[in-house]
């Protein structure tokens, strides 16, 4: 484990803790955000038969860096009648909410921020913090659009957490663990051991699980999509209705923080879906490291597979963004309460029955 390595290197648990804590930020979230912003622009452009950024670097590869430099130079505009402490605290809180999630995500078998037994539960709890941040931002901005966006966001994120949790519970019933690292370890071997294909073990239950796992995957994917406020569930920041929703009044680096949190969230939920259903960091086809008898290679391969799976689901999020129009508020609530939650409940009961049998 990397934690032990740092502990041996520095000789102090405290320093090892700090290094462990900042690792995902500088080695994962920031590079990912830089890449994902560019990637989203490219994907959206090509889906509309455009080219997207082309002029900064090769095919606009340095576009995000140029944008960040621009954001650094921007004036931090603060409106007159805002609630200053809340206004300044909100972007930090939103970012903490999405950054905290990364603590329990197993990137490889050698690195997990905090290998806690309540992993999935912790993630669900911490990502709820973002709702408070968004509400804060909307309320403190003293702007009708911000407030409307925040209210919608709160309603949406709270309702869509229910189907997410129901699906997670059904997974937990099969595996009997909330620890994402253990969950990923269980799905080792080849892709037929992934939860989406009934999980490890080979019996009649495995084949009975498959349709309900696919159903569960669809439900959790839709509801996590809504939780991170992505299209088609982007009513909290609906450009055509609410300017920019809860971050209308933010500018400069505070806006950049919301932006970073959004992209970090995108990857976080994709990673959770990948860890729950698609084997986490496990390779679908076996490891080159085992083949070459070079065991140090395995964590690197695992990081590659984990990133690849995460990026694939991020790509699907972008893909959906350019496919579907935005839902109305009532349609949004109907989707959640009348379709996702009942179906998730039925799924949960059936999975429970199969597990008991």
């Amino acid at each position: 484990m990397i934690y032990d390595f740092f502990h041996n290197l520095t000789g102090s648990y405290f320093i090892a803790d700090i290094i462990q804590a900042i690792l995902p930020l500088f080695f994962f979230i920031l590079p990912f955000a830089l890449f994902a912003v560019w990637w989203e622009r490219k994907v959206s452009a090509h889906m509309q038969d455009r080219l997207g950024p082309m002029r900064v670097g090769y095919h606009g590869a340095l576009q995000t860096i140029a944008d960040i430099l621009k954001l650094f130079q921007k004036e931090d505009i603060v409106a007159k009648d805002i609630d200053k402490p809340l206004f300044n605290l909100a972007p930090v809180l939103v970012f903490i909410g999405s950054y905290g999630v990364f603590a329990a995500i197993p990137f490889t078998s050698a690195y997990i921020g905090a290998n806690i037994d309540l992993g999935v539960f912790y993630i669900v709890a911490v990502s709820g913090l973002a709702v408070a941040g968004i509400l804060m931002a909307g309320w403190a901005s003293n702007n009708k659009y911000s407030l409307l966006g925040a209210m919608r966001s709160a309603a949406q994120m709270v309702s869509y957490e229910i189907p997410t949790i129901l699906v997670i519970v059904s997974i937990v019933m099969i595996t009997g663990t909330l620890n994402l690292n253990t969950l990923s370890e269980m799905q080792t071997g080849h892709f037929w051991n992934w939860m989406i294909l009934g999980g490890p073990g080979f019996g009649i239950a495995k084949f009975l699980f498959i349709p309900f796992m696919i159903l569960g995957f669809l439900i959790i994917y839709i509801s996590t999509l809504a939780e991170v406020n992505r299209v088609p569930f982007d009513i909290p920041e609906a450009e055509s209705e609410l300017v920019a929703g809860y971050h209308t009044e933010y500018s400069g680096m505070k806006f950049a923080m919301f932006f970073l949190a959004e992209y970090a969230n995108m990857f976080a939920v994709s990673a959770i879906v990948a860890a729950l259903f698609f084997g986490g960091y496990q390779s679908p086809i076996g490891y080159l490291g085992n083949l070459l008898n070079a065991h140090w290679l395995i964590p690197i391969e695992q990081l590659f597979w984990f990133t690849a799976k995460g990026l694939f689901f991020v790509f699907v999020q972008m893909w959906l963004r350019w496919t579907l129009p935005r839902l109305r508020v009532d349609q949004l609530m109907e989707t959640c309460w009348k379709y996702l939650i009942p179906i998730a409940f039925v799924d949960l009961i059936i999975v429970g029955l199969i597990t008991v049998l």
Binding site: H46, Q48, L218, W319, L320, T323
Partner: protein, 187 residues
């Protein structure tokens, strides 16, 4: 109950159909033209910035009169009989020095009405359409190839010529007036 499942199924199915459409578009070649690097082929009879081939201009002022927005200003001065102003490419003999031929492209409406009356076809539309400027004065284009000194010289030449002619005339008139007197004196 039946319609409930039908709605759910249709919602899911149509999402996948839509995703198929967008995924296909991911591989459709982009229609974007990388503008400053690659330019679109202009239509054959496009109307953009005017150009005046001043070597062919005879200074007839017809274009300036045809212009609906008066963006063309022409000043000419007659050449001296001793000077050879050359011929236009059409073989027409030039008689006037064009000392000023300004077109204000801030005013120009690209109607092409100035092009048709030109007897020597020296004013025409080009395919240049990128000529934005920071100062409006920079949009006044001067097409005369003579240097300012030469222009002044031509004007001065003509003024002198006119003055000489006037002086000659006056002298002739004076002689005419004086002649009968001498005759009278003789007679």
């Amino acid at each position: 109950m039946k319609s409930y499942f039908k709605t759910a199924w249709e919602a899911l199915l149509t999402v996948f159909i839509g995703m198929k459409v967008t995924f296909k578009h991911l591989f459709v070649p982009a229609v974007t033209i990388q503008y400053p690097d690659v330019k679109l082929q202009l239509p054959e009879r496009e109307r953009n910035r005017l150009y005046v081939n001043i070597d062919d201009c005879i200074g007839c002022d017809q274009c300036a009169r045809a212009c609906p927005v008066s963006c063309i200003t022409i000043e000419t001065v007659k050449g001296l009989p001793s000077e050879d102003l050359g011929k236009t490419s059409g073989g027409k003999k030039k008689a006037l020095w064009v000392t000023k031929f300004d077109i204000d492209f801030a005013k120009c409406c690209y109607c092409q009405l100035c092009v048709f009356p030109c007897p020597t076809e020296c004013i025409y539309m080009t395919d240049v359409y990128e000529f934005s400027e920071y100062e409006r004065e920079n949009l006044i284009y001067d097409f005369v190839t003579l240097t300012p000194e030469e222009r002044e010289q031509k004007k001065a030449n003509y003024a002198r010529f006119e003055a000489e002619k006037a002086a000659e005339k006056a002298a002739a008139a004076a002689a005419k007036v004086a002649a009968p007197k001498t005759e009278e004196n003789k007679g």
